[in-house]
């Protein structure tokens, strides 16, 4: 019996562990919590505090908390934001409410009783306390002056431009603050016309979230924008006017629409423009006193570090040294620190990059440089301290900083020769284990040619490649002719007529004696008739002198030639029928005549 309560407790614990939802449901009253925080514990009279109320719980629609009356403050709601998440089927949501509190009187005020009621259960937030100090009662004389018009009446809106210093050194940051204060309702986003900043390198620091400020007892909504300006020259410079245009609710009176059922909801707007006054800045040159000889021109407040990526390295292998300069000031103008020439190292610049940041309205950042050091000899070597100087405008003095020297253990690579013959080395070198140097020169000049001489443009090359083309053309022509000769008897006879005639004439010459006179004349006759028959592809038999004359006439042969041919053929006939009449003289004459006739016939187009 004694064990029963213990078992029951264990069972209950297991149930709670396994069923968280059940556990929550059972927990009932603990599933909503209210957390109240203030952004600061104490404020001045003209300052403001932000009250943040976070309602969180495991229900989807969290009710809004009820705010207590805070008679010592003007309370402005800054809206709400909600966040719902579902994890393992469990809903958890949180709604954040923000309020701006503007104090009315000094004193210490507890803020509690922020509560809500959910399912008949009241949940209460934690208590916070805000102390309002009797300081900063004034919003700044300048602002108060600005907030009044010439009659001493409070202005509904105005804009102010202020700088943190009017006598900066050249390249020292001047922070320009523009404040647009407005105590009446306005519509949309006011449009800003940026001030002219000739002579400055300008960087916008950003806009501050709008806040409320009490000036001359009146609450203004303040929109603030800041700039970092770096004067680039000495002498008088002017920051131009800034202007802002906004649409504000039209001021009372005037025409009222009798049908205006929406009241002033769509209130008629009135465009207003306010301007700041120009600000004169006197830029001072840097003092000559104490100026280092090698002053780099950097202004601000900086620190420097140097580090190497390794401390043990082989000869001729690179070591990357990173130099980091960081702080406040115009980082872009930070000059690269210069190492002196070192006997033990070759130095190469590798890279540099800068990173500009804005912290607490001050421009600053880091500038990184990388330099590659190639050790030339083995042993214990040292990269010396690097000095860097700048001018600190806040202290009006020059500052010189030094890095720590970096020790390097440089080892000998395999096969290291005490005097390296490689005259340079680079960060990218990855020399293989066997390659320490270039290969040695060649003993012989080898085959030479004219500078820029290419074989493709030499005449030999062109002729050599032209030859087969010519040869092909020739063989094709020869073959074609052969084919024509064998397939066209007329063509073949015509082409061979002259050759046959020449042969016959030669034969006739050998017969040119009285004894062989008959045969001679027969051959001469054959020569002429066969030539004409071959040329015209006709039978030589039956070709009479008259027929030949006619054929020659048809081919427009010369009359003289026709007559001479006829006479020659007549002589041949006569000699054949009267051989006794043949004399050596007549033979010679006929041979000469035959040769003339054949030459002349060569010119006729058959």
């Amino acid at each position: 019996m004694k064990r029963l309560p213990l078992i029951s407790i264990l069972l209950l614990a297991v149930c709670f562990a396994c069923f968280p939802k059940f556990a929550h449901a059972q927990a009932g009253g603990n599933d909503i919590s209210i957390s109240v925080t203030l952004d600061r514990d104490s404020i001045g009279l003209n300052e403001q505090a932000t009250l943040q109320v976070v309602v969180s719980g495991t229900v989807q629609n969290l009710p809004e908390p009820q705010m207590p009356t805070l008679p010592m403050f003007e309370v402005y709601s800054q809206g709400r934001s909600s966040n719902i998440s579902i994890t393992n089927g469990q809903i958890s949501s949180a709604v954040t409410y923000r309020y701006i509190l503007l104090p009315k009187k000094p004193g210490t005020y507890p803020i509690d009783q922020i509560a809500l009621v959910y399912r008949n259960h009241r949940y209460k937030g934690n208590e916070v306390e805000l102390t309002v100090l009797n300081k900063g009662n004034s919003a700044g004389q300048n602002l108060e002056k600005q907030a009044q018009d010439s009659n001493g009446k409070g202005k509904d809106y105005f804009m102010e431009a202020v700088v943190n210093t009017k006598t900066p050194y050249v390249n020292q940051q001047v922070t320009l603050t523009l404040k647009f204060c407005i105590a009446v309702q306005y519509y949309g986003s006011p449009e800003l016309q940026e001030p002219a900043t000739t002579g400055f390198w300008s960087e916008v620091l950003g806009n501050k979230a709008p806040y409320y400020q009490k000036i001359n007892g009146r609450t203004y909504r303040v929109i603030e924008r800041k700039y970092a300006l770096f004067p680039t020259q000495t002498g008088e410079l002017t920051i131009g006017r800034a202007a802002i245009t906004a649409t504000v609710a039209a001021r009372g009176g005037g025409y009222k629409d009798p049908f205006n059922v929406f009241g002033n909801f769509f209130g008629r707007g009135q465009d207003i423009t306010v301007r700041t006054s120009p600000i004169n800045i006197r830029v001072r040159p840097l003092p000559e006193k104490g100026k280092p000889d090698n002053f780099s021109g950097t202004i601000g407040n900086f620190a420097i570090t140097a580090s190497a990526d390794k401390h043990t390295v082989e000869v001729n292998q690179p070591v990357t040294v990173s130099i980091k300069i960081y702080g406040t000031g115009n980082v872009k103008s930070v000059a690269e620190p210069v190492f002196p020439d070192l006997d033990d190292f070759r130095i190469y610049k590798a890279s540099s990059n800068e990173n500009v940041s804005k912290n607490n309205d001050l421009i600053g950042g880091t500038k990184d440089f990388e330099e590659v050091f190639i050790p030339k000899r083995p042993g214990r070597l040292e990269i010396p301290a690097l000095s860097f100087n700048y001018f600190d405008p806040m202290r009006s003095k020059y500052v010189t900083l030094s890095t720590q020297p970096i020790g390097l253990q440089v080892t000998k690579p395999e096969g290291y020769a005490s005097t390296s013959d490689v005259p340079f080395s680079g960060p990218d070198q990855t020399i293989g284990s066997e390659a320490k140097d270039i290969r040695f020169i060649k003993e012989s000049m080898g085959s030479t040619s004219n500078v820029g001489g290419l074989i493709i443009f030499s005449p030999i090359y062109i002729i050599l490649n032209g030859l087969p083309v010519a040869l092909l053309a020739a063989t094709v022509l020869v073959r074609k002719r052969k084919e024509k000769m064998s397939s066209n008897i007329g063509y073949a006879r015509s082409r061979s007529a002259a050759r046959a005639a020449r042969k016959r004439l030669v034969k006739a010459k050998s017969l040119a004696t009285i004894e062989k006179g008959g045969a001679f004349y027969a051959e001469i006759y054959q020569t002429v008739t066969s030539f004409i028959a071959d040329k015209l592809n006709i039978s030589p038999h039956g070709l009479t002198t008259d027929r030949i004359k006619q054929l020659l006439k048809e081919r427009s042969a010369d009359e003289g030639l026709i007559e001479q041919t006829a006479r020659l053929l007549g002589q041949c006939d006569f000699a054949r029928f009267a051989p006794s009449s043949i004399t050596q003289e007549s033979i010679n004459q006929s041979l000469k005549s035959a040769e003339d006739v054949m030459v002349a016939m060569g010119g006729i187009r058959f």
Partner: protein, 241 residues
């Protein structure tokens, strides 16, 4: 006979100069070696070994740009020479600047790897032999009427080979001779956005970087780097390969 004798004498004189230059090199008098090698080039004579030795002398002098320039000239004349390739690769490691984002046209890089080991003249001779062979088959077929399958096949095969080799020869000629390339030889070699030192600086070159010349204006070349960055560089800061 006289011409042959004169040619032999000139060749002998050049070999003498070459030996003298080599002697200077061995004595580590690299300036004199460079002068002597260049005096041979001034006589309109070139050879792969001459450019190679000149490249070596420049390298030892510490003039990386001219070393790489001469190694590239040597490689163009004798691409299969292992020592030339080695020294070119070795020297290029020392360039101060590494090109990022170099992307090669895959077709060009394939064709380049095919023709790389051969000289242009070798490819031209092979093309010529194939051209003659092709025409021998054409003569056999169309000139002598040998209509056999063997002549047909021979003509087709030799034509295909001819077109391939001639194409590769053209590619090599285009990339190595027709396209004007240069090597940056000056230590300070700013590259501008326009053909004037008043233009913005595009980048800083370094000795040994190889560029393609795409245009020129006045004293400036418009050059294209291997990673397709382009800009204008003063003519006297580069040397044409």
């Amino acid at each position: 006979m006289m011409i042959l004798l004169a040619t032999a004498l000139i060749a002998h004189a050049q070999e003498d100069d070459f030996d003298k230059a080599n002697k200077y090199y061995e004595d580590k008098d690299y300036d004199s070696a460079v002068r002597m090698y260049e005096s041979i080039l001034d006589k309109n004579v070139e050879s792969a070994a001459l450019y190679y030795n000149l490249g070596n002398a420049y390298f030892k002098k510490g003039d990386l740009g001219h070393a790489i320039l001469n190694y590239m000239k040597a490689k163009r004349l004798d691409p299969s020479d292992e020592a030339i390739r080695h020294n070119l690769d070795f020297a290029r490691q020392f360039s101060r600047v590494r090109m990022e984002g170099v992307t090669l046209n895959p077709i060009d890089s394939f064709l380049g790897s095919v023709v790389d080991p051969y000289r242009l003249n070798t490819l031209a001779w092979i093309s010529s032999i194939l051209f003659i062979l092709f025409f021998v088959f054409l003569i056999l077929r169309y000139g002598l009427g040998m209509w056999s399958t063997a002549t047909k096949a021979g003509a087709i095969v030799s034509l295909v080979l001819l077109l391939t080799v001639a194409g590769l020869t053209t590619f090599k000629y285009r990339t190595e001779y027709l396209t004007e390339r240069a090597v940056i030889v000056a230590d300070d070699s700013p590259v501008y956005t326009g053909p004037s030192d008043q233009s913005d600086k595009e980048l800083e070159g370094a000795p040994g970087l190889v560029v393609k010349i795409i245009d020129q204006s006045g004293d400036y070349y418009n050059v294209l780097f291997e990673n397709m960055r382009r800009g204008w560089i003063k003519k006297d800061l580069v040397a044409i390969i």
